[in-house]
Symmetry: C2
Subunit: 115 residues, 2 copies
């Protein structure tokens, strides 16, 4: 087995889609022999957000801490609270906004198709 | 998008491999349109464990709360603490033991090959 702590991994600033005050850590991916799907931790600081965007693959998300709003371009909005899970279907335009005073941290898994 | 809270899902007792005081919640799977991989939450109560077992698919694990030990049949043992992640390779015989006074809860993702 392979083991690590999520803070061992570099928190890479996410700048695409106008995202602000957001980092991503890649915990497990094909580099680790995990070729079917990848596990990442996204951290959105106070006043941060992931900008509206879409891609041809799904997200499976679990909220670790913090509060916020998940939005779709369709207008759908959902509150984010710890212990929530989300499925963002492929090609659905979406964004995540931290609306609290603490960091919003979440697990985000994606299939590994070489993205 | 699809949203839920992990406690909305039934905590199904896990009795295989001699497992004790352990439940699993399926958060996302092919029933939700998530056909590439599945996300589950495993909860091992105080004095509980998942018995030694193997299967032809990998685990990608993130520790939500609690402490314990992850063991391989090879003899490898690793401490489990919150924020740890684990990759259990296919066909590796493994078990998880709660060694603390609180429940041990973890995210466990697997590829969806119809298991």
């Amino acid at each position: 087995m392979l083991k690590g702590h999520y803070t061992d991994k570099e928190a890479i600033p996410q700048l695409k889609y106008g995202s602000t005050n957001t980092t991503m850590r890649w915990l497990l991916s094909r580099e680790d022999g995990a070729g079917n799907f990848a596990m990442r931790v996204v951290r959105i600081e106070k006043d941060g957000f992931v900008g509206m965007h879409r891609h041809p693959y799904e997200h499976e998300i679990f909220i670790l801490s913090g509060i916020g709003i998940a939005k779709e371009a369709t207008g759908q909005e959902e509150e984010i609270n710890p212990g929530d899970f989300f499925f963002i279907e492929p090609d659905v335009e979406h964004s995540f906004i931290n609306t609290g005073d603490e960091p919003l941290e979440l697990i985000c898994c994606i299939p590994d198709k070489g993205y």
